[in-house]
Symmetry: C2
Subunit: 198 residues, 2 copies
């Protein structure tokens, strides 16, 4: 049976992450009941997305200009690179306003089960950058998962071989968290990484 | 500061119902990382939505043809009308495959606090339809809320005045529900509406 427009839209929306059939239906009806101009503005943004936004040829994060504003910003610390898995991680870290160096997006993690090896990630370009641009420190910010940890170790070995200092984001209790709800591994890490009180 | 395309998209998506900044960000990045063709198909569906889908001039539900397929279906029971608040309620009720009559969308409920009175809803057209089309029964399927109940009562009075039988969807325990988690009012209603076991 041919799907009508509304069913097609609901199906298309429900393929987006975090949305099931119910929420997709709710969104489709809201678009329909809402202002036509608003819907069309959203449509135009989605339609032109891939043409407007590309990957930065230096760091691999999303950008409208190549190289990206971070890579060309002379006000940033150009001797430090923070290594992340995905382009969206750059935005999360930038929101902390704590880091002022450069970034490097690996494009994933080493995951042999999914057939992703070191050569499928931007590890070689990272080592080249570190070597050519005189990088002092590389901070690895892969996710604290088995794959993220494995990837961090692998990347660290490559960088230490060329004499670059490598560090990893601290693991411990999240700010505002509750000991009662913290998992065993996080608690163990927060003991091991305890810091002296000033 | 001028927002870049990605920020505009995230802002636009986060205005949709049920989506906050975090889920909007996740969706925007998924659109970006996904297939360009998929994104553009979604964009086209959203862009043409208001031009493709209109309200049925008979029942008020959303349709691509006017009158809608339900209103023109000669196989349906044309002596029964089910009255709902919103166009999306028609799709929910159709999914039950239990009802084979016609529909009528009120377009909301009587809510004096929000300044919505009976004249703001399609109540007069419903009474006209019931009178002109020789309707036997009207089933009121407004939501079981204070406003829904008030509206149901108001509509019922208008229809009883012209000799139409009026009923209301049964209230009681949801199928698969648990007595332990049912609220007091629902339990009270399920006692009052108890049915004899065959």
């Amino acid at each position: 049976m041919a799907l009508n427009t509304l069913e097609q839209l609901i199906q298309s929306i429900s393929r987006l992450p975090g949305l099931g059939k119910k929420s997709a239906t709710r969104i489709a009806y809201a678009l329909l009941a809402g202002d036509q101009g608003d819907a069309q503005r959203l449509a135009t943004l989605i339609h032109t997305l891939h043409d407007t936004i590309r990957r930065c040829s230096v760091c691999g994060s999303y950008t409208e200009t190549d190289p990206c504003p971070i890579c060309t910003d002379s006000g940033r610390d150009r001797a430090t690179i923070c290594v992340v898995e995905q382009p969206q991680d750059v935005a999360s870290l930038e929101a902390s306003h704590e880091y002022h160096g450069l970034y490097h997006v690996l494009g994933g993690v080493i995951a042999p089960i999914d057939g992703i090896g070191p050569d499928d990630l931007a590890i070689r370009p990272l080592v080249d950058r570190a070597q050519q641009d005189g990088i002092d420190e590389v901070i690895i910010a892969t996710n604290p998962t088995v794959e993220g940890d494995t990837t961090a170790l692998f990347v660290a070995r490559q960088l230490e071989a060329i004499g670059v200092n490598v560090s990893r984001l601290a693991l411990g209790l999240p700010v505002g968290g509750d000991l009662e709800y913290a998992d065993r591994l996080t608690l163990a890490r927060s003991f091991r990484g305890r810091t002296p009180l000033a």
